[in-house]
């Protein structure tokens, strides 16, 4: 049985502990948080035997095979480095680091220690995204021309941590504010279909009446190796949506990760005038089927949109057990880091920015 520990007992830690609980061959042996009460509460809630307020003591006492780091992004480097050096594999919440340089420092420690370092690319492992990736691998899209990844969430609604004046969400200290919290998700999803980023240009609106100066509407137009991508974050609407649309030369597919099911639009397969009719009828049936599946998911008590995290965590431990490389490679993490870096610079400079190499750093 592999031993897992979780550092940081906030909201996302609950998802990690649930994923560990559901994964075969692994047990959570320790929880750590600066708040003793929160650490103890979380441990009690998930039946974890040990809790600590000092992660070094957790590492020494629990000797975990792997550590999940769910603290704010700015602390990831320091904590992950010590976990790797203590001999644990490390599974880090996104974003893994707040700069490309920090990512390289961490990757260097992982490589020198011979431990696995994984960034949480959970949505990549959701059923619907896996279906799109399968279609992509099978060549059903034809050439992938363009991908859109758009998150619509009322991030600046009253009561949101993103507009909390006293205890703001840690992402609000990052250059793109709330957008920084989602950019990794947008980037790994787009990267999976159109490959490495070459350049990006961004448009930002900062017109929220409650989050003064913060980016409220964000769009990044990306030129990537195999196509273009449009990444977006919108905070103004009231509908929660996480939309991915992949446009290929033969097939378009769209999913909403907060619901269930893909909608496919084909460009072949019958007399040309009848193809739109066939697609419309197909979309109608798909919507009905997806509505039933979405309702079932809500009532199932399962992971919901975090299904990908459960799958990724289970796969991570299965491969750890077999001594195989993890499901998210260090190269993939670096590639996504470059997406985030290029887009962040383009948004900050309000210019088109091309890929840059990280400055040379020591481990």
């Amino acid at each position: 049985m592999l031993r897992a520990a979780v550092i940081g007992a906030g909201h996302i830690a609950k998802q990690h502990l649930a994923a560990i609980d559901a994964a075969p061959g692994v047990e959570a042996v320790g929880v750590c948080d600066l708040s003793a009460a929160l650490a103890e509460l979380t441990a009690e809630r998930f039946g974890v035997t040990a809790w600590e307020t000092d992660f070094r003591r957790l590492l020494a006492d629990c000797r975990p095979d792997a550590v999940h780091i769910t603290t704010p992004a700015a602390t990831h480097l320091a904590i992950a480095k010590e976990c790797l050096e203590a001999g644990s594999h490390v599974f880090v919440e996104k974003p893994i680091a707040t700069s490309l340089e920090d990512l390289e420092r961490l990757a260097a420690v992982a490589e020198s220690s011979g431990r696995w370092l994984v960034e949480d690319h959970n949505y990549l492992f959701n059923d619907d995204v896996q279906q799109l990736l399968r279609l992509h691998r099978e060549g059903r899209f034809g050439d992938v021309l363009h991908v859109e990844v758009q998150v619509d969430l009322p991030l600046f609604a009253p009561g949101s941590r993103f507009v909390d004046r006293h205890a703001p969400h840690p992402a609000m200290r990052e250059p793109l504010g709330a957008v920084s919290d989602f950019l990794t998700h947008l980037s790994y999803l787009a990267n999976a279909f159109v490959g490495p980023i070459r350049s990006a240009s961004c448009q930002c609106r900062r017109d929220s009446p409650v989050a003064t100066g913060a980016i409220s509407e964000f769009k990044a137009l990306v030129d990537a190796a195999f196509g273009t991508a449009l990444l977006g974050v919108s905070t103004g609407g009231e509908i929660d949506r996480f939309r991915i649309r992949v446009d290929g030369s033969r097939l378009s597919a769209e999913v909403n990760l907060f619901e269930v099911g893909a909608i496919l639009t084909r460009t072949r397969g019958g007399p040309k005038p009848l193809i739109p009719i066939r697609n419309m009828v197909g979309r109608g049936f798909s919507e009905l089927r997806n509505a039933r599946r979405s309702l079932s998911r809500k009532l199932s008590g399962g992971p919901g949109p975090y299904e990908g995290l459960w799958r990724l965590v289970a796969e991570f431990y299965a491969r750890c057990d077999r001594g195989e490389a993890p499901p998210v490679s260090l190269d993939a993490i670096r590639e996504v880091g470059r997406w985030v870096d290029v887009i962040t610079h383009a948004a900050c400079d309000n210019a088109t920015v091309s890929e840059r190499q990280p400055e040379a750093v020591g481990p």
Partner: protein, 343 residues
């Protein structure tokens, strides 16, 4: 006495603050937004800006304070955020009290901490606490943990703690309580209409806090705070519809019919989803019980300690409610709304 109140600008907090001021104490209100608080609190109250979740914002706030009344609990964000904020907030407050040398704490708990399945009628301070805590909602979990933390602190430091557990606190702007039933469009489903509600009018509840502050014999004790008037759920909903701008029709559903529905829904959910199914709170038996189980309640222990604390009987409370300025009691971030109690 210098008394610091957390959650002072909330629904209950405003009345508690006024009651403490009226007794001649010097009140310091720890608030996140002094500008807003200044519009709802007496001008004699000293406002200190601070956030219980941010320890550095509490530095020095408790210097010279003789007693703390802790009413604040977080209601923003989802269950998990509320839980983290309320628990961490209590932890930070106690650390600041240690730093400031404050030895007296009156903590606002809730009837939600009881085990409503095992409790026998009448529910009193000796009733068992929830044994299956994590099946309950975030409010019950966070209040149970808050109470655990303050009790441990009092035991460890030998400090003077009194725990008050109010029932459903109601008043102008918060006339309806979650313990009555479930609104569905214009329909007001009243579960077990004949059962008594553990109500406490906000001014009566505030008076209990003020009395307890001045009573040394309440130190180390736990009290339920429930008005003496016996009011059924059906009657309270009727008064609510008659006396406020709310519109709707009361529908009576026997308690057992609702509980049976919840049990059947849970059985189907478990069968369909191999034990993992998730249902709305009202269809989860333990949460349904915590809101609607027909029990008798008493606050005899509190009355023995401080005497009758109710300045308003039920009818007078409604008349008083109608005199309160409209809109002042709109729920705020300092107002707690959970499965069992509104404080």
């Amino acid at each position: 006495m210098n008394v610091l109140i957390t959650g002072a600008s909330g629904f209950l907090g405003r009345s508690v603050t006024a009651a403490i001021v009226a007794r001649g104490h010097s009140v310091i209100a720890l608030v996140r937004d002094p500008e807003r608080a200044s519009t709802v609190l007496p001008s004699s109250v000293r406002l200190v800006e601070g956030d219980l979740r941010v320890p550095r914002s509490l530095a020095g706030a408790l210097d010279g304070v003789d007693a703390v009344i802790h009413l604040a609990a977080c209601v923003v964000g989802d269950d998990d955020e509320q839980l983290a904020s309320s628990v961490v907030g209590a932890e930070n407050l106690l650390a600041a009290m240690d730093a400031g040398g404050v030895r007296r704490l009156i903590y606002c708990g809730t009837l939600s901490v009881y085990d409503w399945r095992r409790a026998k009628s009448p529910l009193d301070e000796e009733s068992p606490l929830e044994s299956d805590l994590y099946t309950r909602d975030g409010y019950a979990i966070s209040k149970t943990w808050q109470e655990r933390i303050v009790r441990r602190w009092a035991d460890a430091k030998g400090t003077q703690l009194t725990v008050l557990r109010p029932g459903f606190v109601w008043g102008a702007g918060n006339e309806e309580t979650s313990g009555v039933g479930q609104p569905i469009g214009p329909l007001r489903i009243v579960f077990g209409g004949a059962r008594p509600l553990p109500l406490t009018y906000v001014e009566n509840c505030a008076a209990a806090f003020a009395e307890v502050l001045d009573s040394t014999m309440t130190i180390g004790q736990t009290y339920n705070v429930i008005d003496a008037a016996r009011v059924t759920a059906w009657r309270h909903e009727g008064r609510y519809l008659r006396n406020t701008a709310a519109k709707g029709w009361r529908i009576y559903v026997p308690y057992l019919a609702g509980l049976t529905t919840a049990r059947v829904a849970t059985w189907f959910s478990r069968a369909l989803y191999r034990g993992r199914g998730k249902l709305p709170g009202i269809l989860t038996p333990c949460r349904y019980r915590a809101r609607f189980r027909p029990l008798r309640f008493n606050a005899d222990k509190l009355r023995e300690a401080i005497g009758a604390f109710e300045a308003f009987d039920y009818d007078e409370a409604w008349r008083h409610c109608r005199l309160a300025p409209v809109g002042v009691a709109t729920p705020t971030a300092d107002t707690v709304v959970g499965e069992g109690v509104t404080a």
